[in-house]
C-alpha cells in the first residue's frame, strides 16, 4: 500500500492551526452556525408542529430537533470543507505553505477532516444545549449524540473535500448542494420519516450518509432503543475512509503538479 496515502501525526498541527484561527472569531462563527438551526426549530418545530401533531409518538419539535442536529452536522462540515478549504487552498495558499514543510497532502486532508468534525461537534453541542433548554431532547442518554455528530462531521468534511479538490471556483459548489446535500436534507428523515417515501426511494435514501446519521441520532435524543447501531457506524466509517482517500488523491493531483 502507498504509505503516503496515510496521514502522519503532523495532521494534528494542521488541526491546531485551524483551531487557532477559529478562536479569533469564535463568537461570530457560533452565531452563524447556530442561527439557522435555531430558526428551523422555531419556525418549523413550533409553527408547523401545531399542524403535524405527533410523529412516531413524540411532538414534532422533539422529532425535528433530532433531524436538525443531524442536518446541522452535515451543513457545518460541508461549508467548512468547501468554502474554508477552497479559500485556504486557492486564495490564501495555505496548503502550499504547509506542503513546503514536512507536512504532506494526507496530513493536510486529515487536519481538515478532523477540524470539520470538530466544528460539527462545536455547533452540535450548542444545538444540544438549546434543545435541552427547549425540552425537545427528552432522553437522559442523549449526550451520546455528540460522538455521532463528530463522526458525521468527519464524513461530510471528507466528502466536501472531494468536491473542493476538483472545483474550478466557488460557483461549482452549487452543483454539490443541489445534487447531493439539499436532497439529503429533504429526503433522509430530517423532517419526516423515510418510511413515508415510495419503497424504491427508501432503498436508495437509506444508503445515504445522512440517513445513517439520522438513524443514530433520533433514537438517542428521543430515548428509544437504537436499531442496528453497528451497521450505521460502520457505514459512516466506510464513507469517511473512501472520501478521505479520494480527496487525498485528488488534492495530490491538484497541488503536486
Amino acid at each position: 500500500m502507498d504509505m503516503s496515502a496515510l496521514p502522519t501525526k503532523r495532521f494534528f498541527q494542521v488541526w491546531r492551526r485551524h483551531l487557532l484561527v477559529w478562536k479569533k472569531s469564535a463568537a461570530t462563527s457560533l452565531m452563524g452556525t447556530l442561527g439557522e438551526p435555531f430558526l428551523y426549530l422555531m419556525g418549523m418545530g413550533y409553527g408547523l408542529g401545531r399542524f403535524v401533531g405527533e410523529i412516531e409518538g413524540v411532538s414534532y419539535l422533539v422529532y425535528l430537533t433530532a433531524g436538525i442536529l443531524a442536518a446541522n452536522s452535515m451543513n457545518t462540515a460541508t461549508f467548512e470543507a468547501l468554502y474554508g478549504g477552497f479559500t485556504r487552498m486557492t486564495r490564501q495558499n495555505t496548503f502550499h505553505a504547509m506542503l513546503a514543510t514536512p507536512v504532506r497532502v494526507a496530513d493536510v486532508v486529515a487536519g481538515e477532516v478532523v477540524w470539520g468534525g470538530t466544528k460539527s461537534l462545536i455547533s452540535g453541542t450548542a444545538i444540544f444545549l438549546v434543545g435541552n433548554l427547549l425540552g425537545s431532547i427528552p432522553s437522559s442518554t442523549a449526550f451520546l449524540v455528540l460522538p455521532v455528530v463528530f463522526l458525521s462531521g468527519l464524513v461530510f468534511t471528507a466528502m466536501g473535500l472531494v468536491v473542493m479538490a476538483i472545483a474550478p471556483n466557488y460557483d461549482f459548489f452549487l452543483y454539490y448542494f443541489t445534487l447531493v446535500t439539499t436532497p439529503m436534507f429533504l429526503f433522509c428523515g430530517v423532517f419526516y420519516p423515510v418510511d413515508s417515501l415510495p419503497q424504491t426511494a427508501q432503498l436508495v435514501v437509506n444508503m445515504l450518509p445522512l440517513a445513517h446519521v439520522v438513524s443514530l441520532i433520533r433514537p438517542l435524543t428521543v430515548g428509544v432503543p437504537l436499531e442496528d447501531p453497528v451497521f450505521h457506524v460502520v457505514a459512516l466509517l466506510v464513507y469517511a475512509a473512501l472520501a478521505f482517500f479520494l480527496a487525498t488523491r485528488l488534492l495530490k493531483k491538484r497541488l503536486i503538479v
Binding site: S4, T8, R10, Q13, V14, R16, R17, L20, V21, K24, Q92, N93, T94, H96, A97, M98, L99, A100, T101, P102, V103, R104, V105, K252, L255, I256, V257
Partner: protein
C-alpha cells in the same frame, strides 16, 4: 565541500510544453546558487522539483544525498522555502505565523518561542510581533516569509524571486539578510530575473532558457566568456544609423531600439569616434550580467 543538490538530466513536461528539458547542475554546501532566465524559462519548475512540489518526469535529483520526490519529508525537514507568492497566514499575527510554521517542523511551542526573538530581529519586525499579517508592507511580508523559512533551522534555503515587486530599499535590506545567512554557512538556491540581484548574491549561476541551460559559472566567468569587457551605449535625439555603418569600429556593435551598444576591449577608440557628435549621449561602462543574459537569451520579448 559536499553537494547539497545534484541534478542530472532533469526533465519536466506539461501538455504542450517542455518546462525543464534535461538539465544538469550541482550546488555545493555553503554557496549561493542562482537560476537566471526569462519568464517561462523553467526556473520555478526546477525549484518546485527541488522542494518536492513537482514530480520529475526524468533524470535524477538528489538533495542532501537522497533522491528527492514529492512528499519526501526527511529532506523537507532540512529545507526552508520562500515561495514567489506570499502565502503567509492572513488570519494570524506575525508571531503566530512563526509558531504555527514551527509546529509543522515538529518543534515544540517552547522551542519556537525561544527562536522567536532572533527571527523577529532578523526580519526587523521586533515591534510587530502581534500585528496581523495584512497590516504589513510588502517588504515586511517578504522579510517575514524569509524568517519563517528559517524556523526549522534549514541547511538549504530555496527562494523563488525573493525581491520581485519590492522597492529598492526593501530589496537591499533583503540582500543584506541573505548575505548574512550565507556567512552563517547556509546554502542558498534562488531564482531571479534581476541581474543586479544575481551579481550581488550569487557565487555561481546558471542561465536557463526554454528549459535548457545556456551556460553556468561564476558571474565573472560568464561575463568574460560571452561579452567583451567594455561597453559603450550611444543614444541620440534623432534616428541613428544602422549598426552596419560602424563596421570599422573595434569589437561588435548592435542596435537595439533607439540605442547602439558597442562591445569591445577598446572603448576609448569607440568614444573618440563619437567625440564631435554633440547630438549623441555616450556612456561607457564595464560589461555586466545583463549583457550576457541578453546575448544568450535574445533581445526579443519572450511572451
Amino acid at each position: 565541500m559536499s553537494e547539497v543538490v545534484s541534478a542530472t538530466g532533469l526533465r519536466k513536461g506539461y501538455p504542450g510544453r517542455q518546462a525543464v528539458d534535461g538539465i544538469d547542475f550541482t550546488i555545493q554546501s555553503g554557496e549561493c546558487f542562482g537560476i537566471l532566465g526569462p519568464n517561462g524559462a523553467g526556473k520555478s519548475t526546477t525549484l518546485r522539483m527541488v522542494i518536492g512540489l513537482t514530480a520529475l518526469d526524468g533524470g535524477r535529483l538528489e538533495v542532501f544525498g537522497q533522491p528527492m520526490y514529492p512528499e519526501q519529508t526527511t529532506t523537507s525537514q532540512r529545507m526552508g522555502v520562500v515561495p514567489q507568492e506570499d502565502n503567509l497566514d492572513p488570519d494570524l499575527t506575525v508571531g503566530e505565523n512563526l509558531l504555527v510554521y514551527g509546529r509543522y517542523f515538529g518543534l515544540s511551542d517552547q522551542a519556537v518561542q525561544e527562536k522567536l526573538v532572533k527571527l523577529l530581529a532578523f526580519a526587523q519586525l521586533e515591534d510587530r510581533r502581534d500585528a496581523m499579517v495584512r497590516e504589513l508592507s510588502g517588504g515586511m511580508m517578504r522579510r517575514l516569509v524569509i524568517a519563517r523559512s528559517l524556523v526549522g533551522s534549514p541547511e538549504l534555503i530555496v527562494l523563488d524571486e525573493p525581491t520581485t515587486g519590492l522597492d529598492p530599499q526593501a530589496r537591499h535590506l533583503i540582500w543584506q539578510r541573505l548575505r548574512m545567512l550565507r556567512e552563517e554557512g547556509v546554502t542558498l538556491l534562488l531564482t531571479t530575473h534581476y541581474m543586479e540581484e544575481a551579481a550581488q548574491l550569487c557565487d555561481r549561476l546558471m542561465i536557463l532558457n526554454r528549459g535548457q541551460i545556456l551556460d553556468q559559472g561564476t558571474p565573472a566567468e560568464l561575463i568574460s566568456r560571452h561579452v567583451e569587457p567594455e561597453v559603450v551605449e550611444i543614444r541620440g535625439n534623432g534616428p541613428l544609423p544602422e549598426a552596419g555603418a560602424y563596421a570599422h569600429l573595434p569589437g561588435r556593435i548592435e542596435k537595439i531600439g533607439d540605442t547602439l551598444f558597442s562591445y569591445s576591449t577598446d572603448a576609448h577608440t569607440v568614444l573618440d569616434h563619437f567625440r564631435n557628435r554633440h547630438d549623441l549621449t555616450c556612456l561607457m561602462r564595464p560589461a555586466n550580467l545583463e549583457d550576457v543574459f541578453l546575448k544568450l537569451t535574445g533581445r526579443e520579448l519572450n511572451d
